[in-house]
């Protein structure tokens, strides 16, 4: 039992270390949200409520922007949900790894399922599928403990500082850099590389589509590409 506990604890810290680099981008992005929401007319409580309840930067930005533009509430909600539709795919891809976890663990993991915690954890699970379930859960919580407090904290800083932050810092680019950092290490296998190329090309070609549909189409086509290339490589062996 003692050995088990200490192993679990060390896996948790591995997660913390794996998540830590994302501080560099989550902090500025959280701060940017605080600024944008405050400028849009959100009170401090509302800004923090959104940051804590939704924890999904891109969707929050999209909904706030729509409310500012005078869109009806249901449009703001549905657009935010459309931006987050990718979470269904994240959830599905985590299921083989953590589907057997206790319900309250899964509830917490669902709440904390963000691009960083998902991306870092799934990479680890795919690399070492034999990890015990308890370790997979601990690792995920480790990653998110390195990220979530800073997301909340810096949203608060942004809300308090408001427009004191100048646009010259190019904080808009924190998101693309994060995603590149998550994905780049995976691009050495042919199926992964092919899937990511299809994803980029289709997303750019269909960007005119409303409700983030372009992303869903790009993702599905890219998944099919990855799976087919994988099959083809296996058949060739």
């Amino acid at each position: 039992m003692g050995a088990d506990m200490s192993r679990t604890r060390s896996v948790y810290w591995q997660g913390v270390r794996a998540g830590a680099p994302f501080l560099l981008v989550v902090a500025p992005f959280g701060m940017l949200f605080g600024v944008v929401a405050t400028e849009a007319g959100f009170s401090l409580i509302q800004t923090m409520a959104m940051t804590a309840l939704v924890i999904a930067g891109a969707a929050q930005f999209a909904s706030v922007q729509l409310l500012v533009d005078g869109a009806p509430v249901f449009v703001a909600i549905l657009t935010g949900l459309a931006v987050n539709l990718r979470m269904v795919m994240y959830s599905a891809s985590l299921t083989p790894h953590i589907g057997k976890a206790q319900t309250w663990h899964k509830v917490l993991m669902a709440y904390f399922m963000v691009d960083q915690s998902y991306g870092v954890s799934i990479e680890k699970y795919e690399r070492s599928p034999e990890m015990p379930l308890a370790d997979k859960v601990s690792f995920f919580f480790g990653v998110i403990s390195a990220v979530a407090p800073f997301w909340y904290g810096f949203s608060l800083v942004g809300a308090l500082l408001g427009s004191a932050i100048a646009p010259e810092y190019a904080l808009d680019f924190a998101i693309p850099i994060t995603f590149i950092a998550i994905i780049a290490p995976n691009l050495r296998s042919l199926p992964h590389l092919a899937a990511s190329i299809v994803s980029v090309v289709v997303a750019l070609a269909l960007y005119w589509m409303p409700y983030n549909l372009w992303l869903m189409v790009a993702a599905v086509l890219a998944m099919i590409t990855g799976a087919q290339v994988e099959k083809w490589l296996e058949a060739r062996k």
Partner: protein, 107 residues
């Protein structure tokens, strides 16, 4: 935009997002997914994330949707460092450093 609109958006976006996240891990649970499905699901990260950011890199909002050499170079730097050295920290630092350097040089 009134207070009620803001609260409704926060609450329903919060609940809806949670349900999206909980969907599969909650409902499928420990039942085994078919092999064809897991084969596709392996590619979720590389299928979603590159597509999500591609438009942000090519048509950044900050430049009004104009192609921006500084941002392109920053993205390429992060991609190269990340794929060659498999380093998350390196990709983030390198990408942001390249961005600020290029913004400074190209002004």
């Amino acid at each position: 935009m009134n207070d009620l609109d803001i609260w409704l958006t926060i609450i329903f976006l919060g609940i809806g997002t949670f349900l999206l996240r909980f969907s599969f891990i909650g409902l499928v649970g420990d039942r085994k997914l078919p092999e064809w499905m897991t084969r596709h699901l392996r590619y979720v990260p590389v299928a979603v994330m590159p597509g999500l950011i591609a438009p942000l890199i090519v048509w950044p909002q900050a430049t009004g949707g104009e192609l921006d050499p500084a941002r392109l170079i920053a993205a390429a730097t992060a991609l190269l460092i990340g794929s060659i050295f498999r380093s998350v920290l390196g990709a983030i630092f390198g990408g942001m450093a390249a961005l600020y350097l290029m913004l400074y040089l190209l002004g």
